[in-house]
Symmetry: C2
Amino acid sequence: MIDTTPAELRLNLGRNLTHGLLDALGRAIVTGQYDDGPFPTEAELAKQHGVSRSVTREAVKMLTAKGLVSARPRQGTIVQPRSSWNLFDTDVLRWLLNRKFSIELLRQFNQLRSAIEPEAAALAAVLADDGDLAAINAGLERMKAAETGADQILEADIAFHVAVLKGSKNPFFAQFQDVVATALRSSIQFTNRIKGHSASIPDHAAVAHAIVKRQPEKARTAMKKLVSDVLDLMDTVEQEKNGKAAKRR
Amino acid sequence: MIDTTPAELRLNLGRNLTHGLLDALGRAIVTGQYDDGPFPTEAELAKQHGVSRSVTREAVKMLTAKGLVSARPRQGTIVQPRSSWNLFDTDVLRWLLNRKFSIELLRQFNQLRSAIEPEAAALAAVLADDGDLAAINAGLERMKAAETGADQILEADIAFHVAVLKGSKNPFFAQFQDVVATALRSSIQFTNRIKGHSASIPDHAAVAHAIVKRQPEKARTAMKKLVSDVLDLMDTVEQEKNGKAAKRR
DNA sequence: ATGTCCTATTCGTCATATAAATGAACAGTA
DNA sequence: TACTGTTCATTTATATGACGAATAGGACAT
């Protein structure tokens, strides 16, 4: 039942048929729909989803650009090994994290955050301009204000971390704005559990304060603590899930 | 003179017309060819490069997937702001680093490496399997062996760092395999200057030794030193270039 | 000045035809 | 048998032409 209709494709997420098909195929690939059987041919895809070959080809081209598939004449289109998927493409990341059983991936993502964000905070403490500082403080204030609101606090949390990344003035760190935002939004089903704990206002305030005061080392350690706490909490959750045996770190 | 011919497109880098056009357009965009004027319409692009609208559309779709452009009816295709380009797409990164005047970007990339690779080394010290350890040692041996060879040492260096990233067993760190490899290869024009210094065999050996001995902290600090040295050297080069005024860091 | 409607432009989609690439089967040869 | 070159079928790659849908911007009326 991987077939869809044009109407469904439009609804899905895409602004148009191509994006809808892209989304459907992306989800199907990351959930392993084509792990045993081969990827359908252009003609089959077009027929299954009730769209033209043009739409099919352009969707597949976008999948190619994201590293999920490669296409060659006679061989057909083949799903690439996971190692060549572009995990920092927000579409790919969203597809992966919206799957079931992606807690481990989310944990690994937070491992990455614990490498990235402290360094970004240190850079921001040196390089952030007035606008960045204002955005960081605004995010913090939003968190304080939304301390009661349901999911507003998630968006406030995102705004804070995004502002710090932007403040680093390094485009590679700034790139993680979208990635972090996507990851946090895509993993609500897991983070709900943690939300109450992770949204530690004082810890966030410590980061903001250090950055505003232009203290890189303090900013680094404060952010390190912030992300590490989330990571530890995730480990705890995972250990509970595993019953008793905690595997690693 | 941004026009090309089909033959040139095939030669460029692409296996076919679509990839050739993708490459030509990607380079043109990152070099700011369309910063003042608007991006050409489908019909114009097809005419300028002597290809059909199908090829044009599929190339533009790939650019869309990489975040370089967005397309809407009547509005046309527009180049997105740099902040939404996917810097961790190897194509985009290569286009950017092959530009002139990208030393600053390369420095910022090494800032990222100094955040990523030490953490990856620490993880590898805990999680790397026998194959990973063998690959790390192999990379080190290749560096020793190629100490005389001209550019072989670059590939050996890449192999070493890639092996460490892979050994982290974290797909997000592993993702940087391609990114780091692309960056190092794309920046030969700058790294030639540094090569002699950066290829410090003892420092690399220290990292490998710590990982094999399962000492995460030692691996982290050793890798940190390795990348920081490159970063410092780049700062020095940049300062020389700027005459006398050193700006930051 | 404001809101409504119209129209030209551009991407979006569809359909069809032909070319190019390549894996596999096959035939030929030593 | 083992190797080599050829043919063939399949699938993507490219080309072409047509029509639909959305909308920016102007014309127009109020």
